[in-house]
Amino acid sequence: MAEKRLGYQTVRLASPPYIVGAAAVAGPMEAQGPLGHEFDQTYPDLLAGQQSFEKAERLMMQDACQLALKKAGVTGSPPEVDYFLAGDLLNQLITSTFSALPLAVPFLGLYGACSTFAESVGLGAMLIDGGYADRVLCATSSHNAASERQYRYPTEYGNQRKPYSQWTVTGAGAVVLAAAGSGPRITHVTVGKVADLGIKDPYNQGAAMAPAAVDTIDVHLKDTGRSVDYYDLIVTGDLARFGSQMAINLAADRNLYLGDRYQDCGVLIYDSEKQDVHSGGSGCACSAIVTCGHLLKEMSRGKIKRLLVVATGALLSPTSFQQGENIPAVAHAIAIEG
């Protein structure tokens, strides 16, 4: 077995890379939520002064990248990073590719649906630990109106949302990883397998992703020989209220009791009493802005020391679900230790 591998799906980073800068920017709905004060920048409306929702999402990713670079003290144009790893939900990754253009650094586009945040940070950490890079910029974004238009129905259609449907988060998160520096470190990366439980409803993504999340958490703990108690907090990306309850039950079936050490970013980001978001948040910005905006700050405040972020992605396209295909899911985990 390769020397840095643990068990079936986990890698242990020999020299864990540091998160030297992180930033989160968020849309109006997220700004009004319970974590609103934690975000580095918020926008008063979904257009953010741009002509289209897609351009607004692009601006958000670029703003998040610039803020993260600034916090990391990375200057210069082009910025002194070896790779830019980014992903979003729009067709052909237009947010990421158009954001990469002005950065002018080597770029790799990633699509993992809403698991992209953990995918980009995990890969970035592996690039650094492998000795292929000193510094990597990772970014993830999603936009409510741009995603709804592409995956479901545009606003103009006036479609009714089901009670268990989730609200795609508007915003972007970016982190700068470095081989040297200070800050929390990425110690382990567990790459998930694609799982399919036969869910076909594109509104019921929490149910589609919960089994993948539980499998990745279980494998991560077995591979590392850790227990749930090792972590101060285990967060899933965007299972929301119904999906996270399902995850707790599925984990109990595997004798894994998540208890109060477990939370879900899709639940944390909105106030379910005051905000009309139904089951909670989704979209790849969900885990990105909750982690970059809130959880990493909690780590620097000393409230969390060991964090496991399990970002979950529902792998559907409008074509696949219109043709009656199931919605498979994947979950990737990154262990962040302060």
Binding site: D45, L46, N144, A145, Y153, P154, T155, E156, Q160
Partner: protein, 116 residues
């Protein structure tokens, strides 16, 4: 009295659609096309016009009325022009609605931009 009948029949048609949306896995697209086809079948059998006579706008406003109008136009033209009439007649009675939808959608798109 007509107002009450229109309210009840129109409301019942919409309630049926809402029950289907809430309790089945059918999407709004399925309900839309399903009600159009159902209206067409009822129209072909001669029931839908009687429903319109009874409930007025309660039956003529929901999408099922569009299916009825498609079939009715096709049957009328088929009587005078034969098989080709099925094709030419289909949009005979519905052309106002279709043209209005296109024109107003165009005007709205020119003037407004979605904010959310």
């Amino acid at each position: 009295m007509m107002y009450l009948k229109a309210f009840l029949v129109g409301g019942l048609i919409c309630m049926l659609a809402q029950l289907i949306l809430d309790n089945t896995k059918f999407s709004p697209g399925h309900v839309l096309s399903g009600f159009t086809v159902a209206g067409g079948i009822l129209g072909g059998l001669g029931f839908y016009d009687r429903l319109i006579d009874f409930a007025g706008a309660g039956a003529s406003v929901p999408i099922s009325s569009f299916g009825n109008a498609l079939v009715k136009g096709a049957l009328q033209e088929a009587n005078t022009r034969g098989l080709v009439g099925v094709l030419t007649g289909m949009f005979e009675m519905t052309s106002t609605g279709i043209a209005a939808a296109i024109v107003f959608a165009f005007l709205t798109a020119v003037v407004f931009q979605p904010k959310s």
